[in-house]
Symmetry: C2
Subunit: 215 residues, 2 copies
DNA sequence: TCAGAAAGTAAACACTGTTCACTAATTTTT
DNA sequence: AAAAATTAGTGAACAGTGTTTACTTTCTGA
């Protein structure tokens, strides 16, 4: 899907300003999350008036939604890459889970917002034909395909329902991702406690999840 | 630990007002979460001025923290009850996980806030001697004890480290709890889709988690 | 009774997202 | 090229937020 061609200079300029807003917002959001990102601060950073931003985005929520979506898109690309790699299945499955959690832990505000925001709470619009192709829809399909493969090649128990298991596995991944996003010391509870590193713990967790499906 | 006796009428009155504030806050918070709970609205509901609330709570965050703590306390009591019941181990383990998630799904705002709030993000105060006795500390100990029991009675693999596994299991429970808290249709993605009920899915998820540790 | 403490408040401060009337710049049409 | 129409951008305001300060009223212990 190539970027659409913009004929007129006006359209190009408009998009440039839009991108400027988004990238300034991205910087603040990554550090301080949605609460820290204020329209006035953002406007000041890009040397525009606060009202100007509303010519490009309907609301702050809409702006933030776009940040979340592009984050999730990148996350999905990385996971998909591992999924499509030539490594042995058991390794690939664990790596997918690990990568998902690592990316989430790396941008805690993005990840957390993607699952906590207004749009999520209000449920998904049934009439939106884009749903099946949404980022989360796609992420889910990757997971499901992986489990199907595991069931077919006999790694996973044959009675497993891939759709059902995919949701359960996702929930488990999501849990660790959220814990790491919100607790800077996890998997330790207090700072300066000798425990596994984050990477080691993610590996352990991934292993635990995959074991739950193995024959 | 019995409720402390309050000798003077002044102290009793003060506590009464405090409780009034808390219970009014609880009602709003349960429905609309921390965002929906405003000091002015709260003050109006209990027929006091906004400033009055600051004679009882240092800040809105402190007030909300108290709501979260008492919620988590109740959650812990329920889980502990099942843990101490006389049912067979395999059943008990699954029921603990199930109860945890169900209570979380029942009060989504409480649960979510308990793991998303400011206090969590800033890490836990190492110098706070209460940490080990905090609600989360206790919840963790219950989980750990259960896994220890499972390892000892041979239900779980003998090489399992209870401390480590408890964290992993907690993450998995947490993930489902968060998904249900934030997505009204989960485990379905769209409304009106034929899938397992919430209760059925929780059971399935719990089973998946426990399987990951079984011998 | 009366001093001191505690309870309660009105008004302000410094923020927030958002809208509206308005000007200035830039296309589009004649 | 000039006029009309559209778009970009803005200052000021609105309605809301958490919180503080100075002040008054009420209560209470000596």
């Amino acid at each position: 899907m190539p970027t659409e061609i913009l004929h007129t200079p006006a359209e190009r300029r408009r998009l440039k300003v839009r991108e400027m807003i988004l990238s300034a917002a991205e910087r603040v959001f990554a550090r301080e999350g949605a609460e820290g990102l204020s329209i006035r601060r953002l406007a000041q950073a890009i040397d525009y008036s606060p009202a100007a931003i509303y010519k490009y985005f309907g609301s702050k929520d809409e702006l933030v939604d776009e940040l979340k979506e592009s984050f999730f898109e990148l996350l999905l690309i990385d996971v998909h890459e591992i999924f499509d790699s030539a490594k042995p299945f058991a390794q690939r499955a664990r790596a997918c889970v690990g990568t998902y959690v690592e990316i989430a832990a790396d941008k805690p505000h993005h990840y957390s917002a993607a699952f906590t925001g207004q749009a999520v709470q209000n449920g998904i619009d049934v009439d939106d034909p884009e749903f099946e192709n949404s980022m989360k829809g796609k992420a889910f399909m990757v997971l499901k395909s992986m489990i199907e493969e595991g069931v077919e090649n006999g790694t996973f128990r044959k009675e497993i329902d891939p759709t059902l298991s995919a949701k359960s596995v996702w929930a488990s991944m999501h849990g660790l991702a959220m814990m790491m996003a919100h607790m800077p010391t996890f998997p330790a509870f207090k700072p300066n406690t000798n425990t596994l590193s984050r990477a080691e713990f993610i590996e352990f967790h991934a292993d635990q999840i995959v074991r739950g499906m193995e024959a």
